[in-house]
Symmetry: C2
Subunit: 225 residues, 2 copies
């Protein structure tokens, strides 16, 4: 079977289903206010600030580079081996902490905060800034694909069997704006043996911007140990 797994959390499905709340339980890791999550939140602000600033402000960016390099050197020197770190990442709750969409330890992640709904769909709202730009003032089509691939994976974990993405089709109906709240949804629609079909979309102001249809295969890559 030739497939590609989507990262998705081992969501606490049984325990966390809501009784009647309109917004269901959070399906992704909660960011902590201290430690690596705080440093990553600051790194995210910095990525945006660098893009908002650019080269023309007279800021001493070479000094900034030296400062950031020094922090990176210090952290790298103290880091575990990649093998050990991978094993640590994939234990327990770690699995939802590092991905590039929802992970509080990953500065690439906006992060998107996904909740499970009673109807087995998942949903999150996110506002994107300049790092996620494609066409002028709008979200990059590949970023929409990234958000949707991940959201479909989480929808599988929430709604039924989950697996690896085999095929993903995106349809771009209208440009997706930066700087405005975007609603990202996903929902598992069918399971036929090992074949799982899941759909999702991104909307802004109640209008659908991008839709996604995914075919997933019910298998997983082994976790490192």
């Amino acid at each position: 079977m030739n497939t590609h797994e989507t990262t998705a959390p081992a969501a606490p499905r049984q325990d966390a289903r809501p009784s009647a709340a309109p917004a269901g339980p959070r399906l992704v890791a909660e960011a902590r206010k201290e430690g690596v999550d705080a440093a990553v939140a600051a790194a995210r602000r910095l990525i945006t600030a660098l893009l908002r600033s650019g080269d023309g402000t007279g800021a001493d960016l070479d000094a900034v580079a030296s400062q950031l390099d020094a922090v990176a050197d210090r952290l790298t020197a103290g880091a575990p081996t990649v093998t050990d770190r991978l094993a640590e990442m994939w234990r327990g709750e770690g699995v939802t902490r590092h991905d590039p969409v929802t992970g509080p330890e990953n500065a690439l992640a906006p992060p998107l905060r996904l909740h499970g709904n009673e109807d087995r769909s998942v949903e999150g709202v996110v506002t994107l800034d300049l790092p996620y730009q494609g066409p002028p003032g709008h979200v990059h089509g590949g970023i929409s694909a990234l958000l949707l691939d991940h959201t479909l994976g989480v929808a599988n974990h929430w709604g039924g069997p989950s697996g690896m993405t085999a095929e993903l089709t995106l349809r771009y109906l209208r440009p997706t704006p930066l700087f405005e709240p975007l609603t990202v949804t996903g929902r598992q629609v069918s399971v036929d043996g090992s074949r799982i079909r899941t759909v999702g979309e991104i909307s802004a102001g109640g209008r659908t911007c991008v839709t996604a249809e995914g075919l997933f295969i019910n298998k997983q890559l082994p976790r490192p140990s």
Copy 2:
């Protein structure tokens, strides 16, 4: 027409076509060794270092957070308005400097360095680290989609008319590894009126991991001014 533009550079097509060189001209902005590009390169190292380190090393991550916040505050205070910055970004060579795939000013970009080939295809090699992880030790399926959407857009600029992504289909044939050189290619295959078809793939060690087929519509969003 409901479509979504893919960021792609206004590549210097006519002037830069190679005569016989195996690797054609670079189609994306060259990173400078100083200024904002240097700061962004350091920010990229930092994003990876934070993920490689995690919370368990005893590093004073709250101090790191304060330091990064201070830099972000300083840059933000000196930055132009977003309107002015958008106008600046979309002038001249700026268009290839800030996207989340190839942009030297965007710390989300690995960055992927794409070159044009004689046969009108485009190609780049990139090795991805932990920020781009989906399944254990492998590239996130949505990251592959991001790289391919962008590469197909650049292939359109290199090979013929270009436009906005209307539809993108990804097929995941096998997991895409982290920490190994990945070859990313794109090639425009047909133009029928305003409908442009473009394909691409990501391979590792000579084996195809992900393929992409895109339908693009020959139009663009206006540039801010």
